[in-house]
């Protein structure tokens, strides 16, 4: 069994769908999350606040510095994530397909190290 991170990726300038569509997307994603939980593959998942609410923390010259705003100055940002534990990559990709379909967004799948 391997753990995978599935992240919903969308461009910064993406237009949020209208409320009806968003409500449907939320229902569809919730249904997939329930299936994940029932299958025992679910570990954690959640929607993240907008990237501009992030805070970046780093060490400079021995001191810890804190700055507002996201780390990456890229157009695409994480919208939310799911952590699942499944037998292999194919199984993870199956769930990613379901989420890509429900969210109408790209889903990035990344494996975790085995040691934790």
């Amino acid at each position: 069994m391997t753990r995978y991170l599935l992240t919903v990726c969308y461009p910064d300038d993406a237009v949020q769908p209208p409320p009806d569509e968003l409500a449907q997307i939320t229902r569809d994603v919730d249904a997939i999350h329930r299936e994940l939980q029932e299958s025992g593959a679910w570990i954690f998942g959640g929607g993240l606040h907008q990237a501009d609410t992030a805070t970046v923390v780093r060490v400079r010259g021995g001191d810890v510095l804190t700055t507002d705003g996201p780390f990456a100055e890229t157009h695409e940002q994480l919208g939310g994530l799911s952590i699942i534990e499944v037998t292999d990559l194919d199984a993870a990709l199956h769930w990613a397909e379901r989420l890509a379909d429900a969210t109408t967004c790209a889903i990035e799948v990344r494996p975790f190290h085995d040691d934790r």
Partner: protein
């Protein structure tokens, strides 16, 4: 109480990877931090990710599912791993992030989860 993601930006293009000694020190410091978090009861999840070239991106294109190897974002930096913690407020999250940035020798980004996220 709120849930926060502390993400470790460890894979930086063009930057030399840490030496074996540095990696050993990072592992030791991160393990010590994990123990602290467990004792404080704040950690919901923690994990290290394989390098970004091990990613797969899945998307729908005109009704067809397309899968491509490699990360989604063609950025110079990628996630090395992250923690999900549950703490009183943003200041508390920043305190843990300060410990994390020292342990990982990497920049940490702190973002709050929406309230209905669940483990």
């Amino acid at each position: 109480m709120a849930q926060y993601m502390l993400s470790v930006h460890a894979y930086v293009d063009g930057a030399p990877p840490p030496s074996d000694d540095e990696m050993a020190q990072i592992y030791a410091d991160v393990e010590a931090l994990n123990t602290q978090m467990a004792e404080a009861g704040v950690e919901l999840f923690g994990g290290g990710l394989l390098p970004p070239d091990q990613s797969t991106v899945v998307r729908e294109d005109n009704g067809q599912v397309v899968m491509t190897d490699g990360p989604f974002v063609e950025a110079r930096e990628h996630l090395g791993g992250f923690w999900v913690i549950k703490v009183d407020d943003h200041d508390a999250a920043l305190e843990w992030a300060s410990k994390a940035t020292r342990a990982c020798r990497a920049t940490i980004e702190v973002r709050q989860f929406e309230p209905d996220s669940e483990v």
